[in-house]
């Protein structure tokens, strides 16, 4: 297992890779990728039982990214774990590249083709049911966006997950409170999310979605018997780049050369601070 500071350093490198691939492609969902990146880094480095050498191992844990538009962060994390060479990300969104702007099973390590919102949770209910039918120990995880919760299919799935007592299922909400039109509370308020899921029969925990230790603890812990788990990860859209944090235009904004350089300088400074604190 990585020491916390090693993983923190890694998240800085993953942010560089995420932003670099968006710059090269000239497209991407910058803000949401940066808000969920710490969650993905913890999942793939500390929680999920998955192997780049055996991505189809039937005994692996399953992760489905329901908020598929944040695929750039997922690509970065998978590349860093060795599922494919990071250099391949230079083809992101190019003609006939397997690295399209949403997850597909063409990429080793990706379970399902997602991108239309409200699909991940129902799929994961099916996967969790398959695990239960086989009495298998593997677990199922999905990442939801908070704007995505307006899709009714999530609530159909939430109801059935509790009904079938799917305690091998964990949904993580990337609760960055912004969607493309504006603050989620202004677009279609979904609060209180925790009470809603509790009322549906879920075990709910709310955490700081950028605290790596807390994320590891809550995502590693087994669910209470018979209950699916929702982890509300409070995050900041654009996390890690000061001028992007909480700013709507970075939902799918692509940095200019100057902005990219400024972001890289911030990453360098963050890394220097972390390494300095280490010594």
């Amino acid at each position: 297992m990585l020491a916390t500071d090693d993983l923190r350093l890694k998240t800085i490198q993953l942010r560089r890779l995420t932003l670099q691939s968006i710059m090269t492609a000239g497209a991407g969902h910058t803000g949401g990728s940066l808000s969920c990146l710490d969650i993905l880094a913890v999942l793939y480095n500390r929680v999920l039982n998955v192997s780049p050498q055996r991505p189809d191992d039937p005994g692996r844990d399953r992760y489905v990214q329901s908020k598929g538009h944040s695929v750039e962060a997922l690509y970065a994390v998978l590349a860093e774990r060795g599922f494919f060479p990071a250099a391949e990300l230079e083809t992101l969104c190019r003609y006939q590249s397997p690295f399209v702007g949403h997850p597909t099973r063409k990429i080793p390590g990706i379970e399902m083709n997602t991108g239309a919102l409200g699909h991940g949770l129902p799929i994961c209910v099916g996967m969790a049911l398959a695990g239960k039918l086989d009495d298998a120990p593997w677990r199922v995880f999905t990442l939801l966006g908070d704007g995505e919760l307006a899709e009714g299919s999530n609530w159909e799935a939430a109801m059935s997950a509790a009904h079938h007592r799917l305690d091998n299922l964990t949904a993580i909400l990337d609760h960055n409170t912004l969607q493309i039109t504006g603050p989620t509370r202004d677009v279609c308020s979904n609060e209180p999310v925790d009470d809603k899921f509790r009322a549906f029969g879920w075990h709910v925990e709310t955490v700081d979605g950028h605290d790596l230790d807390v994320l590891e603890k809550v995502l590693s812990a087994a669910n209470p018997a018979g209950k699916p788990k929702l982890v509300i990860a409070n995050t900041t859209k654009g996390r890690g780049v000061s001028f992007m944090e909480g700013v709507l235009k970075w939902h799918h904004g692509v940095p200019s050369d100057e902005e990219f350089a400024a972001a890289m300088a911030e990453f360098d400074a963050a890394e220097a601070t972390l390494r300095g604190a280490d010594q």
Partner: protein, 335 residues
């Protein structure tokens, strides 16, 4: 006492059924349920997913015999398809079973993305398809499903005509390494195939040879095509009949052979005339340069009449008499 259900067959058609020696079987839905139960008995990975639809899908006995292999999600078709896809992605031979009218529109995006685009070997089963629920109004008619699903890459579409095709289609779907849509009605069907018949997804079957008019049907219209051909024979016409259970991928060879050999073609489907079997057949013929007069019999683009399935078939000419008329009109135009 309740009124007797209207018959799908006129007295003349019943007489023809007797002449041909056709034997009445069960509803395809019942045959489907039995076939699935047999598969489930042999393979624990065969799983049915229902949306409060086990009764409509005749899966009550299946659920009693294999309670772990029948998953109920409630009246939630989008979730039903997502769950069916997730099960298939984890090695289950999953069958998502729900009325065709809801399954193929409300959850069309799940069919497109979770099953077809993700390419998982799941089967979606549209029950009480077409106008099986004819009296319940257009909310419950499924006259769009072939058109909607034909436009989605990677989906095989199968509408069996009788119990044999149903049984074989269910087995083929369970064995297939790809997405499949099965479409069943709930009327009792006549057995149309010989004992030595074979079935394969993507293949049509010639039920009757002939070179005057070719009658091509899918699903519950095929028996009417066969009766119409027999009726036309009384006028000295030799008509070919094709059962085309697989609407996609189409058996282009069989269609082109019919188009080249026959003077006219009539297609029959329990579906909108837009986007179903008829237009698919026309596209195959025209793109191959086979320009043969063609009539598409189906449900026209109008506020569909309501009533029993038999009433609706009669209203729109999807009967022996209606198809005889369509074939005769085509031949008259050629004179």
């Amino acid at each position: 006492m309740s009124a007797p259900a209207p018959s799908m067959f006129s007295p003349a058609a019943i007489e023809m059924i007797q002449q041909l020696g056709l034997k009445q079987g069960r509803a395809n839905l019942e045959e489907f349920a039995t076939a699935l139960e047999e598969l489930a008995a042999a393979d624990r990975d065969v799983v049915a997913v229902t949306s409060d639809s086990r009764g409509s899908g005749k899966l009550g006995p299946f659920g009693q015999r294999f309670p772990d292999q029948l998953i109920e999600v409630g009246i939630a078709e989008q979730n039903l398809v997502g769950v069916t896809a997730g099960l298939a992605a984890c090695g289950k031979k999953s069958f998502g079973v729900s009325p065709a009218c809801f399954l193929t529109i409300r959850s069309l995006e799940q069919i497109k993305n979770d099953i077809c685009y993700s390419n998982v070997p799941a089967t979606v089963v549209g029950i009480s398809a077409g106008v099986s629920y004819g009296a319940l109004g257009s909310t419950h008619h499924s006259l769009h499903d072939l058109a909607a699903l034909r436009a989605i890459n990677n989906m095989a579409i199968v509408a069996p005509a009788d119990n044999f095709e149903t049984r074989e289609a269910v087995r083929a779907a369970a064995a297939a390494d790809r997405p499949v849509y099965l479409r069943f009605g709930k009327a009792k069907m006549y057995d149309l195939h010989d004992a030595d018949a074979s079935f394969e997804i993507g293949k049509a079957t010639v039920l009757r040879e002939g070179n005057d008019v070719a009658l091509l049907g899918t699903g519950e219209t095929v028996v009417h095509c066969l009766l119409a051909a027999a009726k036309l024979a009384e006028s000295g016409l030799n008509c070919r009949v094709l059962s085309v259970p697989t609407v996609k991928p189409l058996d282009e060879d069989a269609i082109l052979a019919a188009g080249r050999a026959c003077r006219a073609i009539v297609t029959a489907e329990e579906h909108s005339v837009h986007g179903g079997l008829g237009e698919a057949v026309a596209a195959v013929l025209m793109q191959a340069g086979v320009f043969v007069p063609l009539t598409i019999r189906g449900i026209p683009d109008e506020d569909t009449v309501t009533g029993a399935q038999a009433d609706i078939f009669r209203h729109y000419g999807l009967t022996m008499e209606g198809l005889v008329e369509a074939a005769t009109l085509q031949l008259q135009k050629l004179c």
